[in-house]
Amino acid sequence: MNVIEVTGLTKRYDTRTVVDKVSFSVEEGEIFGILGPNGAGKTTTVESIAGLRRPDAGTIRVLGLDPVHDRPRLRSMVGVQLQESELPDRMTVDEALTLFASFYRNPTDRKALVGELGLEAARRTAYRNLSGGQKQRLSIALALIGRPRVAILDELSTGLDPQARRETWQLIESIRDRGVTVLLVTHLMEEAQRLADRVAVFADGRVIALDTPAAIVAHADPEQRLRFRPSAPVTDDELAVLPDVRRVERVGGQVVVAGTGNVVQNVTSLLSRRGIVAHELRIEQATLDDAYLALTASPRTAKELA
């Protein structure tokens, strides 16, 4: 079942189209990533899904309901963690949780939530004295306190140190394991690659790719590099004629071969045929990061994928 369905979503501010005919659907129980640089239309899209903005064109269905018309009903089923949304300075963690719990008919157990989010020690701490990670975790807790079926999390790890970021990621996985569908907005490729079951890559208000992170990397076919010191001489030409190889360089005693597709297999099989051992072999595998750069750098590829 599709928990979220977005069809042809378009949103303009004045004459500027910030979201342009965006379509995607999110299945029940998945972590769906919305990825893209700042200004790509990610936040406007999720704010429209949360019912905070009215689309200029297109339709959105969340749990079969319209986020604008059925907003009162949806608000109890969708938990939202917004960017740049704070709490009063002097409100404590416990007070915020008690307050938000009062908004829902059947809130989740606060103690368990506090434990799961590692906020026990901070329960009596005022909001302004919380660390960035604690604020972020509290914000997630408030999005989850009403036992939502869908959680929308916008840039949840921005401004967190690597340790706090990893803890937050574990938390998101545990949310999904409870059966909550998660819509995750991020501009961190690593985050999307680690967490998301599927990813929609946004650029300039459009979805330029939509697939699993691994498939996006494979499709975008970004450059990969092998770096090694051959045990016996091998000429540049021998390497350069191999399929998928783009260029061959020498750095010190090392050979660097850059290419796409099956470049790694092609080079290693040539070396093994020739009985050459590749010392100090390092392969720089493509990540979603590279895929993303490849996608946005080449409009042709982007169009093919869209």
Partner: protein, 243 residues
């Protein structure tokens, strides 16, 4: 716990953690009374229709309370909540952000009544000032005066783009309200024209004073206050932005 009650409780806690505000709203009027009581009390003064200075001064002191809460605290809080995205965040929950506004109005109304009871008690016990002699008229004048001033506070919150601007608008307005309400200088010492203006500007101190001293408040100024409450309140509601 029901959401409205939870909002009032948490707002009350936040107010209590801000002693400057609640001391000014609740305690300051009575402190001013004690400080000036000895100086002003005097005896019956034929120039004041046989009243004492203090009898005329006490009704003005409630202006400190409702001015602090309505013109400074209310718009300051709401503008801060908007600036920090608190209202936006509430908008994603089943509670409408108007709930926080309603909770604040209810809380400040309750706090102002605590301050009023304290003031009446200190004035009565310490300085023999009579209890409001026309209680019904007093309650009417008080509610309309408070309503009008709170409506003005809401309007500030509605038009101020930031908490800083809200404060910048509130401070001179607060001093004007205090001046016209006779807090800095008993109203009888103000020029006639200033007194007449003060009759109708929120919170309408003349009506409060009349009712306290046993004359029914005049209907004209009360009607003006009612108009301000409804008109300014409606305008504020129209202009208010949640984010």
């Amino acid at each position: 716990m029901n959401a409205f009650r939870a909002l009032v409780v948490v707002e009350a806690k936040l107010l209590f953690r801000d002693p400057v505000t609640w001391l000014a709203a609740v305690v300051l009027p009575s402190v001013v009374l004690v400080l000036f009581g000895g100086v002003f009390a005097g005896g019956p003064n034929p120039d004041l229709g046989g009243r004492r200075w203090i009898d005329l001064f006490v009704p003005s002191l409630v202006v400190i309370t409702i001015g602090t809460l309505g013109i400074q605290t209310l718009p300051g809080r709401l503008a801060t909540y908007r600036e920090k995205g608190v209202l936006r965040r509430l908008g994603t929950t089943p509670v409408h952000p108007a709930g926080v506004l309603a909770a604040q109005l209810a809380l400040y109304a309750a706090v102002s009544i605590v301050a009023l009871v304290l003031l009446i008690t200190v004035a009565h016990v310490g300085y023999d000032v009579p209890l409001p002699l026309d209680p019904v008229g007093y309650v009417a004048a008080y509610l309309l005066g408070m309503g009008a001033l709170f409506a003005v506070g809401l309007l500030i919150a509605a038009v101020a783009p930031s908490a800083r601007t809200a404060t910048a608008i509130a401070i001179p307005l607060f001093f004007a309200v205090m001046f016209l309400g006779g807090v800095y200088m008993p109203r009888v010492l103000l020029p006639e024209i200033v007194q007449r203006i003060g009759d109708v500007t929120p919170p309408g101190v003349q009506g409060l004073q009349d009712a306290w001293l046993g004359t029914a408040p005049q209907i004209g100024p009360l009607a003006v206050l009612a108009l301000i409450t409804v008109g300014v309140g409606a305008l504020a509601t129209r202009l208010f932005r949640w984010e």
